[in-house]
């Protein structure tokens, strides 16, 4: 009979670092770390040496010198004496603006396409399939350039709006002009508005801030009313009718405020060779916005379709068996479950839309790639610093978005038993 004996304790040998799985992982990791350090050090060393050879240094002071170039679309004050840093911020705001507008339009079109592609109507579902294939299989840059070309080449010039025998005319009751120089729409104006902030470093439009504040407050109150109605319903089983309260609370204060501020619309007018007054959307922005939205909508459409198809038929049948009506089945049973599937990939589509706004440089829209990575970089010759900052900004945006997405995922994750 054999008895188990402890294996003889052997002295640690160097070869165990490679052949013994207990130690091998440390060897590999230390080796990888060394290689990585060597790589980084040689990179830094090369960079410093090359910069020294070119007579440059790593210096971010250029951000605080006067930029002196013109930016054609600015949401905040930017003048002849503004710095490169301010130019970069103006560009960043332009990026965020077109990304925000693009996400909204892409969501609307994408949802429509996704739902219609599931339609029983053969013609419509095939048509939506064609839309998806058409936009998914062609580079987004081509769509941007194509829409830009269509806008500048095929739309009427302001000149054609003039005279008795004008070949083009304004639309929507003479309030909106679509020209090859941009789209002019009525601009909200305030005759008794709050004075603008004098300090240009933080010029917020106080009127807009006031309106947003009042709107937020009324939405909050209206939400409280809904919560109260929920409580009453839970207690008594009867739900008080509240829709007119909610409606009034949201609309009335806003109307009063707008009246107090002297709200009116400034219409675009043809003056000389161009339209004046009103709000002008440049072609570069419209092209970028439309192309990115239509392109991303094709992907969102597929995600929405997948999300709805992922909900098993039993769910809607069970809801029907409970006696819910179709609209409520959609709102209370299908959508909450489909959203769980739809939202994470849609958010990564938003992120890729935001990153694609960097294509603005191809049509001359001054986003952050156009200011910081374009004119500033060429003017100051600070390629390394500019590109690093540019990457940093995009990385921060994408980290913020993925943090938001993780929060959402954690909130809606199925609680499994």
């Amino acid at each position: 009979m054999t008895t188990p004996v402890a294996p003889p304790r052997r002295r640690f040998r160097l070869s165990q670092l490679i052949y013994d799985t207990r130690y091998r992982s440390y060897t590999i990791q230390v080796f990888a770390l060394l290689m990585f350090l060597v790589f980084v050090l040689s990179l830094v060393n090369n960079t410093l040496q090359n910069l020294a050879n070119a007579g440059k240094d790593l210096d971010f002071d250029f951000l605080f010198s006067t930029a002196g170039y013109e930016i054609n679309q600015k949401l905040i004050y930017y003048g002849a004496d503004s710095t490169h840093l301010r130019a970069a911020i103006v560009g960043l705001l332009n990026t965020l603006l077109v990304a925000f507008l693009g996400c909204i339009l892409a969501t609307i079109i994408g949802t429509l396409v996704g739902v219609l592609r599931l339609s029983k109507n053969w013609l419509i579902s095939k048509l939506m399939g064609l839309y998806v294939e058409m936009f998914r299989n062609v580079p987004v840059l081509l769509w941007i350039l194509l829409i830009m070309a269509v806008l500048t080449e095929l739309l009427p010039s302001p000149r054609e709006f003039r005279g008795e025998d004008a070949t083009a005319s304004m639309i929507l009751n003479d309030t909106t002009a679509i020209t090859n120089r941009g789209v002019y729409v009525p601009m909200p104006q305030f005759s008794r508005g709050v004075d603008q902030a004098v300090d240009h470093s933080l010029d917020l439009n106080l009127n807009a801030v006031l309106i947003l504040f009042v709107l937020a407050a009324s939405i909050y109150i209206s939400h409280q009313i809904k919560l109260r109605a929920d409580r009453i319903q839970r207690k008594t089983g009867l739900r008080p009718t509240i829709w007119y309260w909610q409606f009034g609370i949201i609309v009335l204060p806003l109307l009063i405020l707008l009246y107090a501020l002297g709200f009116h619309l400034g219409y675009p007018e043809l003056k000389g060779f161009n339209f004046d007054g009103g709000l002008r959307f440049r072609n570069s922005m419209v092209a970028l916005w439309l192309a990115l939205s239509l392109y991303t909508a094709a992907f969102i459409g597929e995600i929405v379709r997948g999300g709805i198809m992922a909900i098993s038929k039993g769910q809607s049948e069970a809801a029907e068996a409970l006696g819910l009506r179709p609209a409520r089945i959609m709102r209370l049973v299908i959508l909450p479950q489909a959203m769980r599937v739809i939202i994470p990939p849609v958010i990564s589509q938003y992120l890729s839309l935001t990153k694609n706004t960097s294509l603005a440089i191809a049509v001359g829209y001054m986003d952050i790639t156009g200011t910081l990575g374009g004119i500033t970089m060429n003017q100051t010759g600070r390629e390394l610093e500019s590109v690093l900052l540019l990457m940093l900004v995009y990385t921060i945006i994408s980290l913020l978005v993925s943090a938001g997405m993780n929060l959402y995922n954690a909130r809606v994750a199925l609680v499994e038993r």
Binding site: N46, K120, E133, L141, A362, T369, M377, L390, M391, Y394
Partner: protein, 434 residues
Amino acid sequence: MTKQVAYVRKEILGPKPPPNAQDRLIGWLRENLFYSIPSSISTLLTVVVLGWLLLGLFNWLSVSTWAAESLNDCRSIIAELNRGPDESGACWGVIRDRGIQLTFGFYPSEGYWRPILAFTLLLPALAPILFADKTPRRMILFSALYPFLMPWLLWGGTIWVPLGVMAGFAVLYYSFRFTASLNNLVRYAISLAVTLAWWMFGVPVFDSVLSALAPIGLAPVESRMFGGFMLSLTIGVVAIGASLPLGILLALGRQSDLILIKALCVGFIEFIRGVPLITLLFVASTLLNIFLPPGTEFDIIMRVMIMVTLFASAYMAEVIRGGLAALPRGQYEAADALGLDYWKAQRMIIMPQALKISIPGIVSIFIAMFKDTTLVSVIGLLDPLGLTTAIRANQEWAGIVWELYGFIALMFVVVTYSMSRYSMYLERKLYHEH
């Protein structure tokens, strides 16, 4: 007593025609287009709008000319052809005039056969990979040869450089065989060192000696001559081919138990995925030479290929990680139970299944990469879209829109659509009912 039967049918009746509602055409129409009042209305509206669009397209296409030399020329030809003053027609003259440029860029015209041959040979090189069950196994040798053949055909130069690089693999094999008596680790180190030494010092000597003896080669072509679809295909093929192995390694690194390696891979992947491709192309065009040792000069297309490959590999890694995560835990445990080591388990058990699961994702990255090659026009390379800017800035064709962009879009659709079809075919083929 025989039973009297009043009537017995002797022959079988033929089937009756189906009722009207289930007639092939009418039934289908009722089922799919006119099943309710709203559906009928939307069908009719769609038909009207679609008909109007198609009619316009047909009119535009029917009055088209290939003959013109410039846009004004074309307009006058079409005005003659036209039945009415308002109707416009397609000016395909721009494609006839600039089609060669859109395809080859500024590649020397006597060498057009080289890119044509290179991309035609791509098909037999891919066949053993794409249709493994329908091609002879021997053909995989040609696929292995292709990565050396393609650069030689495109960039030219002496044939001895690619042959010398290929010989490096023979050097690797034989130096590994000759050191069989030594410790495994020492063997790896020695044979790798010998091979690297061959590539760095042996190949130039090999090239200069043999070029002096037998100067076989093609006329060298500089990268800045590359353009048009040829450029897109070159960048696309290289990035796609190189990003798959790199992506697999990154995905394995991200799934690894080794914390340091995992951290490095995660950092790399998340950084690349967080920035737009354009910023990486800026790195390629302005910064890569700053990062490299002083004195090294890379040509711009090579730099772009490196950055696009890195970009694609990060996305590839995420798709493959999805495949790895979707694999049931039991597969890993079964591989361990069989006593396979890490790389054998990956090669024989894990990867074949994980890659199969990730096929749709991999192909959609291929498609996205091929589309993203158009971004190189932003840093001044002359891919088809970069050329359109030049064509439209030229006086002859200023103002041309649909014909030019339509042609380019069509070329992209042909490539990307066939890729997505192939992915569907592969998914069907690899699908097992469990």
